[in-house]
Amino acid sequence: MLYKHLFVLCCFVVVPLSAAQAESLRYEKIFNQVTAKDNRLILSVDENGSVALHRPLFMTRSGDYQWQLDAQALNTLWSLMDQQSLAQVDQALLNRNLAQLKQTVLVSTSNTDISYFEWVANASTEMHSLEVEGLEAWAGIFKDQSDLQILQRIEQDLWQWINLQLQQEGVQ
């Protein structure tokens, strides 16, 4: 079914961030097991609070969304990102730790979804990124691995935030 809808609501408030608060976020979840050409959830938020969300067709509320956050909503989002904890996660170390853990026990998972986090921290221009394949599965197996638990919690918070945003605007 081919359809396009464009809804523009009036009465928005835009509060531009100061130059010192250069924060942005890109989060992706790539569902590798789905053979559709479009198989990823993409969320991006820029330093001005402009949000873009893409949900592939096999997800509920599929489509592309754009909306604007005010300063309060933006700060709420940044707090969910828990940048202090995120900044402590080193990709190379995470990969090594995960590889070592897999050597210690005979476990396996077929979870090949990729969770990707990319952000520019507050008062910084440096971009950070982290990527984990099978995050939810490995976090469930290695419950004492703190980096996995941090990323899992942030991912869950982001999904809840997305749900709340869509619900607030009546997207069913």
Binding site: M1, L57, S62, N111, T112, G140
Partner: protein
Amino acid sequence: MKPMITISRIVAFSSLLCIPLLSHAGAYIFSSGTSPDVITHPSNYTGTGGVLTVSVCIAPTSESIAEMTVSVENAIATWNQLEPTTGNLIFGASNDIPSGEIDFESTLAHELGHCVGLAHPNLATESGLGEPDRNYTKADEGPNNMFDLGIGGDGVRGSQDDIRGDDINLHWFRTIDNNPFVMTGTVDTSTYSRSLLDLPAGSSFAANADRTVSTLFGVSNTEAVMQQGQGLDEDQRQLGHDDVATLRLGMAGVDETEGTADDYTLNLVYGGVASGCDITVQVTGTSFAFCSVGGAGVSGDHLRITSATAQFGTAAQFNWYFNPNPSQQEIIFEDGFEI
């Protein structure tokens, strides 16, 4: 104060290309380049023959319990029946799945295969390769630490003429003809092998049961359930020959010889909504679908599953189609009574 939000919603048509992934017996979880001959058995197998009972429950904390129950029972029956089929890919108007939705039962059938020890017969996403190279037959990279991917003269990835260099084959194949779309007679290591030295004339690598490979063997719309990849509006609820042969090879027991005392038959039993089963199925979280397993040794290269959890993303997030129609197959409940 509630933030004031402007939303512009753009819902665009997504041109869904259900990209086709480009029996025999397939591959097993825990097999690798250093342990290529590993055969992984379902839970509770200790090397003793007989009926191997493996319980399957829906977690009490799962979402969509009522909606998923029929699919769970159907998928259990499918694996118990072990009936190999061709033409097991049913698309569009030929199935009961609405456009834009993903069949839960087909996805569950795939994950249950992992939960009883089967791996993908293709390289799949765990190889790190992109499409369509994921369609090549499952193997280890070998001594040169890279996948050697020669498509061969037929231009089909995963077929019998692929040129794979020093890649270590992990896919068990039928030695008489390297055909993953048939299965006759004995299924054990007298008729199936992993060694490329046992390939029939004309083959350079093990063929996997990918849908594009099927056309080379004169069958259409056929693919192993264990091939990685679930398409939208696609019914793949029935097993292929490769799926059945992989399980039957394991069922030949640790001596890998069919017809001896250590042979077993798999009997999945539905334990209802409960905890403590060998395989737990739950709908929760943000991942599409997976099965996580633990393992332990049985004997030599033989391992068994010790714990298995099959997890599927919530229906609030994913457009699951939950099949409401019980299959006509026999379903055995844990109390021993049939429906």
